[in-house]
């Protein structure tokens, strides 16, 4: 049973289609991240769900209630959906306390206590309540925006790149705190971001978006290891794409044999590996040249090594090219990031070993 259901949502600005038939299903009390390059339409999708804009076509239902369909569009202020915007969008003319209490009825008994509780929940000091937004740091502003959005106990919370204005260190801790907070409050959350690491670490479900469509929707692990196309593969992290020949659950690639999930037989296919799956084992020059013909393992010579602190970027020339179709590829060097402690000297030889399965992409 899905909590938020989006069906066939489309929206154009002039000739430009910002959203082109989006379907999305969000289970209750879950976290969904929508990730994509800037201009892909992810913020438009969020604004349509929030009710700030009306779609050209499509339906949105929340908990069985229709928010938008062909006939009606419920205005934003009746939807009861919380929104935290990119830079908080705090009201500059109101104090922090008034910002947090903005959506609360003015005559509510215990209003001040309610506001103080909310501030406490998001980890704000009570002394801050009398200040103005411009006197707060970026992290504090985001916390105020979150408290303000939580005040009305929304069942759905939309986060529009709320962490992008924060510095790196703060970003991760804030993300973790927000995720925990919203889950314990039983609030379903949708996060829009252009940062793939943020999307993968935050969400139960990730949707990769491009040009107004979803390229792929799934769990973070599934998307990372089983991307549906090269764009998704490369967007979610470094990817090594190789030509391969498939047979009996194995793939022959320029860097050796690797198991694949597919049992099909194909002479020309493409597989993807994540760099973490590759292990380099130093070997002697003799072994490397002697076993150059062994098909199970590939050997390489370190041609270039760029030191960059915690890691090195290593460039390998492949020594053995198992078969003809891959020969052209084999001539191009394999470039990998390795931990600096591995200390691969220039001119030394390595055996390339692959951990786990490769993913057949096409």
């Amino acid at each position: 049973m899905s909590f938020l259901q989006v069906t066939g949502l489309s929206k154009s600005y002039g000739a430009v289609a910002a959203l082109d038939g989006i379907d999305l299903s969000v289970p209750p009390v879950s976290r969904t991240a929508i990730v994509g390059p800037s201009g892909c339409g992810k913020t438009t999708l969020l604004r349509l769900i929030a009710g700030f804009e009306v779609p050209d076509a499509g339906r949105i239902t929340l908990n069985g209630e229709r928010l938008v369909d062909e006939a009606l569009a419920m205005p934003a202020h009746q939807r009861g959906i919380g929104v935290v915007m990119q830079d908080g969008a705090l009201f500059p003319h109101l104090s922090v306390a008034d910002n947090i209490g903005f959506g609360l009825p003015r005559n509510e008994p215990d209003r001040a206590r309610h506001i103080a509780d909310l501030a406490y929940t998001v980890g704000l000091d009570a002394a801050i309540l009398r200040r103005r937004p411009h006197q707060l740091s970026g992290g504090q502003q985001q916390r105020v925006a979150l408290a303000r959005a939580m005040a009305r106990r929304p069942s759905l919370m939309l986060l529009d790149e709320p962490f992008s204005a924060l510095d790196m260190g703060l970003r991760a801790s804030m993300r973790e705190a927000v995720a925990e907070l919203l889950e314990s409050a039983g609030i379903t959350t949708i996060l829009v971001t252009h940062d793939q690491a943020e999307a993968l670490s935050f969400a139960d479900q990730v949707a990769v978006m491009r040009d107004g469509r979803f390229s792929q929707v799934g769990t973070p692990r599934d998307l990372y290891f089983h991307p549906s196309d090269t764009m998704v593969a490369q967007f979610l992290g470094d990817a090594i794409l190789l030509p391969a020949r498939l047979s009996r659950g194995m793939a022959d690639s320029p860097i050796g044999q690797v198991t694949v999930e597919s049992a099909e037989r194909r002479d020309s296919a493409r597989i993807m590996l994540r760099p973490e799956q590759i292990v380099l084992e130093p070997v002697s020059a003799a072994e490397a040249t002697a076993s150059a013909a062994m098909p199970a393992f590939a050997y390489g010579e370190v041609k270039k090594s760029e030191f960059a602190g915690s890691y090195c970027t290593v460039s390998l020339r492949l020594l053995n090219t198992p078969d003809a179709p891959a020969a052209a590829i084999g001539a191009t060097p394999l470039v990998l990031r390795r931990p600096s402690v591995e200390e691969l000297a220039l001119g030394s030889f390595v055996r390339i070993r692959i951990v786990g399965k490769a993913h057949v992409i096409a």
Partner: protein, 526 residues
């Protein structure tokens, strides 16, 4: 111990720095202080003449029914015209910024354009259209039409750059459209409304021609009447005291209402443009408001002038009279504009580059003096030159100095804004590349601040072009500017002969309203 060591250090370091920095800097400071002192002359005159008149005479002249009547007139005028202008400006600004009103951009400019019509020309147009127009209601009608753009401009500019994310947030927090406007949008417009309202209020207090034409007595008309009958007698001066008190009262009121609020946008992201509200079937009725406003504020003057020109035919186009007036007006406007700019330069420079209390004090001096009605400035300059500096009495220099005092704030605003955009590091960079201080200043700051300086000067010149009250009281014998020519003909009820003068003034001013439009946008972005 540590004290003993720090003293010689400080005393060796300080002279070197002072020797290098003193000449340029102290020159600017001295110039700024002199300009400020000179600009305080009208205020000093008011204080001095009160003391000179003595308490008994002064109180007899101030606490009398006539003053009470004038006070009631002025207050009623402000209490009616300012709120009406505010509502009108708000509605028009919302329609032209936030709705899909057909022709939005064009309307925006047309709604600023009435600033090109001098208030007394607006009044002339209405009186010749509706001869029975007079008194408070007539005054309110013409005042609103003449001055609402002073409110429309800042509201328009602020509304344009308001972050729509705030309104979206309010909607997601459960507020309907009307409540969003009242609780989020309107508070953001507060500074614009207060500033514009103050400007309108000050104009209402200081305008002479508009109210003389429709026979509505205000302090300013009464002072001019007194001046024309008794020169600078104590009766007129004491009226000026009350008028100055009213102006300072308005200034103080605005200052209190403004408080020390800061409505800075929080956060860094680029603000999205608000999606225009679809008016749908309401578009036509909504179109009526700007259309009617433009018709009344621009159409009526143009129609009236056109009608009088047609009625007068070639007979009223006496080029032998009009061309010298045009020439005199333009020379006065240019010379006055240059003098104002020169006077504003040290104050603006100090305000941007200086530190401490002095620059701020000097700058606020300029604003207080700028809020004084031209009639008071003229009265002060006349009295001082007639009594103390007779050689200067009714000379070109005197009237130019009075212009400089009156229009100083306009020039400071423009200069300040553009000086602020030139980082001092550029000057340092030029110096490190081997330019002398003067050449560094010329090659960087002066070059880059030139557009702002030109804008400030143009605004001052525009003010001089349409200035009537002070020009009448101060101009050397034989001077006849466009405004004076217009005024003498329309006072003789020769409306046809006055028409060409009115038309020329409007046509020269029209392009300048565009400048005002641009400047208000830049100020709002600061």
């Amino acid at each position: 111990m540590s004290l003993a060591r720090s003293v010689p250090l400080a005393s060796t370091a300080a002279p070197i720095r002072q020797r290098q920095l003193l000449p340029a800097r102290s020159g600017m400071v001295i110039a700024a202080v002199v300009v400020s002192l000179l600009s305080l002359l009208p205020l000093g005159f008011v204080v001095w003449s009160t003391v000179d008149t003595g308490w008994v005479t002064a109180s007899a002249l101030i606490f009398r029914p006539r003053v009470g009547d004038l006070l009631a007139n002025s207050l009623l005028l402000i209490l009616l015209a300012v709120p009406i202008s505010t509502l009108l400006a708000l509605a028009l600004a919302w329609l032209t910024v936030r709705s899909d009103l057909p022709g939005g951009r064009l309307w925006a400019w047309l709604l600023v354009a009435p600033l090109a019509v001098p208030a007394f020309v607006q009044s002339y147009a209405w009186v010749s259209l509706v001869p029975s127009l007079h008194g408070l209601l007539g005054g309110v009608l013409v005042s609103v039409l003449a001055y609402f753009p002073f409110l429309y401009l800042p509201i328009f500019a602020t509304l344009r750059r308001l972050d729509p994310a705030l309104e979206d947030s309010a909607a997601s927090l459960g507020l309907g459209p009307w409540k969003i406007f009242l609780r989020v949008t309107l508070p953001q417009l507060r500074l614009a409304i207060l500033g514009g309202g103050l400007l309108v209020g000050l104009h209402l207090l200081s305008e002479y021609g508009l109210y003389a034409m429709i026979r509505f007595d205000t302090f300013t008309t009464a002072i001019v009447d007194q001046f024309q009958s008794t020169f600078d007698g104590p009766a007129g001066t004491m009226l000026a005291v009350v008028l100055v008190a009213c102006c300072l009262g308005l200034l103080g009121l605005e200052n209190v209402a403004r408080g020390d609020e800061r409505y800075a946008r929080v956060g860094t992201g680029a603000p999205r443009l608000a999606a225009p509200v679809r008016l749908g079937g309401l578009a036509l009725p909504c179109l009526l408001l700007p259309a009617l406003t433009v018709l009344l504020a621009l159409g009526v003057p143009f129609l009236t002038i056109g009608r009088w020109l047609a009625a007068g035919g070639t007979k009223v186009l006496d080029m032998g009279e009009i061309l010298p007036a045009l020439w005199q007006t333009l020379s006065l406007a240019l010379a006055g504009g240059l003098l104002t700019l020169a006077a504003a330069l040290p104050i603006a420079w100090l305000a941007v580059r200086g530190r401490g209390a002095l620059p701020r004090l000097l700058e606020s001096c300029g604003y207080v003096v700028g809020s004084l009605p031209s009639v008071v400035v003229a009265l002060a300059v006349v009295s001082v030159t007639a009594r103390l500096l007779f050689p200067l009495y009714q000379t070109l220099f005197t009237i130019l100095a009075a212009y400089a005092i009156m229009f100083l704030p306009r020039a400071i605003i423009g200069l300040r804004a553009s000086l602020a955009q030139v980082p001092v590091e550029l000057e340092h960079a030029a110096a490190s590349l081997g330019k002398s201080p003067a050449r560094a200043l010329w090659a960087t700051t002066v070059r880059l601040a030139a557009p702002g300086a030109a804008a400030g000067m143009t605004l001052a010149s525009l003010g001089i072009l349409n200035e009537l009250t002070a020009t009448q009281m101060l101009a050397p014998n034989g001077t006849r500017t466009l405004a004076m020519g217009f005024w003498s003909y329309s006072s003789e009820l020769d409306y046809a002969a006055a028409a060409p003068y009115a038309l020329i003034m409007i046509v020269i001013s029209l392009p300048l309203t565009w400048l005002l439009f641009l400047q208000s946008r830049r100020l709002a972005d600061r």
